[in-house]
């Protein structure tokens, strides 16, 4: 209860301490990836071959790209459980366009625009219809998945033109998906950190009423972030649809959960307001690395989901423990 007016800076923290306290989760995951690489390469040196590293990272790049948009959605305090179904629909549209003879650049870009359009509707229902995002996206999940199966009859798309396979190409000897992942992750990270737009998303997720009272156009921002997320889903689709010779209309089951999980393990608080998109990309790489490591050390890859499940629970518990500690340390 002293009343000195001078700002009392108790201690200046060093840059390193501040870096770790801000990016703790990212540092932990990067450490986990390195530890995994070191440990598994002791058992099986081939694990570290350039070929295997490329496979590990580029195979899951589409998950990392989709998780960027998902991280933004969760930071804003929302969730999207329909993104897996959306990627399935967009991939089918992309493949259909390609086999119908449209130029490949149309087959690549039109799904992105459609993703933006569909998510504009979702965002408008959430922001202006005041329906919780989990409800809207659950509905969208059923519509997209049901519609897709009904229209395609579950058929796969074959006979894709050879120049369609963007994800199989390399630039400067590095697979295109890795370029996508790195450039989009860093770009989104800078965007979230260095623009007023990004700041407003953190504010909305941290305390929507305070954000609104501060003059942030909350509804408009929510629609916009859903549209951006739709664009990332479209970009992820380009990587997903062009990496194999066929497009399965049944996308990897639980794809949306894998994407949400990457965001959460990457340090995006499921309660909104905190996190970065770098963490989610690292988490996507970690999943892929764990899956690959299991093959190398002869563990059934079916355990992958269980391992990821354990990681989710640990991450969420740590997040909640951290919040409780912060609330306790807040003196009355």
């Amino acid at each position: 209860m002293t009343s000195d007016h001078a700002p009392a800076f108790v201690a200046k923290r060093t840059g390193l301490v501040r870096f770790i306290s801000t990016y703790g989760q990212e540092v932990v995951i990067a450490g986990a990836i390195i530890a995994l690489f070191v440990l598994v390469s002791l058992v099986s040196p081939r694990f570290l071959s350039a070929n295997n590293l490329n496979t590990i990272i580029s195979g899951n790049a589409y998950i990392a790209v989709a998780a960027i948009g998902m991280s933004m959605i969760i930071i804003t305090g929302h969730i999207d459980v329909s993104v897996g179904a959306l990627i399935g629909v967009l991939a089918t549209i992309s493949g259909t366009l390609a086999t119908a003879g449209y130029p490949v650049w149309i087959a690549w870009t039109l799904p992105i625009l459609i993703g933006v359009g569909i998510n504009a509707i979702v965002g408008a229902l959430v922001a202006y219809g005041r329906i919780p995002s989990i409800v809207v996206t659950l509905g969208m999940l059923s519509i997209l998945r049901g519609g897709l199966v009904s229209i395609t009859g579950g058929a796969w798309i074959n006979d894709l033109p050879p120049d369609f396979h963007l994800a199989q190409q390399r630039l400067l000897d590095i697979p295109v998906p890795i370029w996508f992942m790195v450039v989009l992750t860093l770009g989104a990270f800078m965007w979230m950190r260095h623009t007023a737009f990004g700041r407003s998303l953190f504010a909305i997720g941290g305390n929507i009423e305070a954000a609104r009272a501060a003059g942030i156009p909350v509804e408009r921002r929510v629609v916009q972030v859903f549209m951006i997320h739709g664009a990332f889903a479209g970009l992820a689709t380009v990587l997903f649809a062009t990496q194999l010779r066929v497009i399965q209309s049944t996308v990897p089951p639980n794809l949306e959960l894998t994407i949400i999980t990457a965001a959460v393990i990457g340090g995006v608080s499921i309660l909104g307001g905190t996190g970065t998109v770098i963490g989610s990309t690292l988490a996507a790489i970690l999943f892929s690395a764990i899956g690959s490591a299991m093959i190398f050390i002869n563990v059934s890859p079916y355990w992958l989901r269980a391992v990821i499940g354990v990681l989710i629970l640990i991450t969420v518990l740590v997040d909640i423990a951290r919040r409780v500690r912060e609330q306790r340390s807040a003196k009355r």
Partner: protein, 504 residues
């Protein structure tokens, strides 16, 4: 007459700050013992020690009947017959009246299942004994009025054979007619031999109902007296301890032209036909009971709940405000009543909170200018005396007073011309409080027009140049600084409630 409950030399510290210092307090059977003091005087801490929520520091003794305790657990307090009716009622809205009354100690049948008919019958008897024949034991509590919910709370306390009943500002949210019914209930409980600790700010009530009164100030016991031995003046003097003029050092105001003119402002039926003028350099105090529409009026002017009728003029020009963004861009700022709800983003740093309403000022076209943002925060920290490690400290870690200063800093960073402050010093310590008061005086002197909503009469009387009194959603009186007194403002606050209810 031996006491039901006796506290001797009880103290309590939070994080090294003593909020209660060597307090003696006792409750006798069949008495109403009023507990008074300003916000932050230690009343809540004291009643929480009695009800077992807080553990007192070493050294004090709590005597119940013949047994002595160093501290009470909430379970031990309940066993000893100590029950509390809190300000924020702790009931379950989806359960019925009878279920709420007997929650946790419902009568059982021989098979161990709930004995519903006995439960309903006993709930009926309890409510009848409280003169509440009109209250249906099967009604969902969520559908009841505040006054009825309070009766359910009292019945719940009695169902546990309460011998000491603590009532924490029971009339704060009640209309006049309900206050009178409550008085009857309290007198009835006293006749039954229940000892009642009655926490209230309202002098007329205390004089009507209390047998003794204890005053706390800054955590210390100022005195316990039979009600006949004190007067309103002596009670206020005991509570405030200083002259109001000394407590609120107010610079000579420098009042200019009318900047804001509100005419016939309405929002639904919660804000009804409010008109007032606000001048440059003026502090307009808004007084009124909880639920009188003060906050609702502020939210309407600030565009959170846009006006449904009436007009607002800024500098003589009619404007319409339909969002907080618009209000902000017009130079209006609102420091909310609940800083957790509408003020702060707790996981963010001081700098990020301070810049939140001025993001356009700290960006160059597209990108944030972090240096500019930090400069805003450093300015706020220096100007408001925010005690923090630095501009990058997370606001969730700050004390209440410093959090309030961050919210204030956020709005001052927008360079507002009109500042609306809703309960600017609620729940913060005495030191931070007087700093905020000093700052308000200075801002007004520099020409800012300030609207200050406060439930603390001394604050309103001490700070305001004029007092607008609200009641039932509308303005009932405007009182100049010279005429404003606890009597004139208090009378206007409680007056005319009945006629308004009839009108509804």
């Amino acid at each position: 007459m031996s006491a039901l409950l006796q506290l001797s030399r009880v103290s309590k510290s939070f994080a090294g700050i003593r909020v209660l210092k060597d307090v003696d307090f006792d409750v006798r059977p069949g008495e109403v013992h009023a507990l008074m003091g300003e916000n932050g005087a230690g009343k809540s801490t004291l009643i929480k020690i009695i009800s077992g929520v807080h553990t007192p520091d070493e050294g004090g003794i709590i005597r119940i009947g013949d047994t002595q305790h160093k501290a009470l657990s909430s379970r031990a307090a309940a066993r000893a017959g100590i029950a509390t009716v809190y300000q924020e009622l702790l009931l379950f809205p989806e359960l019925s009246v009878a279920e709420n009354v007997f929650l946790g100690h419902a009568p059982r049948t021989r098979l161990g299942t709930l004995d519903w008919s006995l439960m309903r019958r006993q709930a009926r008897q309890l409510l009848d004994s409280l003169d509440s024949h009109d209250l249906d034991v099967d009604a969902k509590v969520g559908t009841l009025s505040v006054a009825n919910r309070q009766r359910v709370e009292i019945a719940k306390a009695l169902s546990q054979n309460a011998r000491v009943l603590i009532m924490d500002e029971p009339t704060a949210a009640l209309a006049d007619a309900d206050v009178r019914r409550l008085m009857i209930v309290v007198k009835r409980l006293r006749e039954r031999g229940v000892g009642i600790v009655y926490v209230s700010h309202k002098l007329p009530e205390v004089f009507e109902i209390a047998d003794r009164v204890t005053v706390l100030r800054d955590g210390a016991l100022i005195g316990t007296h039979p009600i006949a031995e004190v007067t309103e003046q002596s009670l206020v003097a005991m509570m405030v301890g200083r002259d109001i003029a000394q407590l609120f050092p107010k610079p000579v105001p420098n009042i200019g032209d009318v900047i804001l003119r509100v005419k016939g402002l309405c929002f639904g039926d919660r804000v009804r036909d409010i008109s007032f003028d606000l001048r440059r350099g003026e502090i307009l105090g808004i007084a009124g009971l909880v639920g009188s529409g003060r906050t609702e009026m502020a939210l309407t002017i600030f565009g959170i709940t846009p006006a449904t009728a009436g007009s607002i003029e800024l500098d003589g020009r009619v404007i319409s405000i339909s969002s907080p963004r618009q209000a902000r861009d017009l130079g209006i700022a609102y420091v909310p009543e609940d800083r957790g709800l509408q003020g702060l983003v707790r996981p963010m740093s001081i700098a990020q909170n301070v810049s939140m309403a001025s993001l356009h000022r700290v960006t160059n076209g597209l990108f944030m200018r972090f240096a500019e943002e930090i400069r805003l925060a450093v300015d706020a920290i220096a100007r408001l005396g925010i005690r923090a490690r630095g501009p990058e400290q997370v606001v969730g870690q700050l004390s209440g007073g410093n959090q309030q200063k961050v919210v204030l800093g956020k709005w001052l960073a927008t360079n507002p011309r009109i500042l609306i402050m809703d309960e600017p010093t609620r729940g913060i310590d005495v030191g931070a409080k007087s700093e905020i008061h000093a700052l308000m005086g200075k801002l007004a002197q520099e020409g800012m027009a300030i609207v200050m909503i406060s439930s603390e009469l001394p604050e309103v009387l001490g700070m305001a140049d004029r007092v607008l009194v609200m009641n039932g959603g509308t303005s009932v009186a405007t009182i100049g600084r010279a005429e404003a007194s606890p009597e004139t403002v208090g009378a206007a606050m409680t007056l005319a409630t009945r006629s308004l209810e009839v009108a509804q």
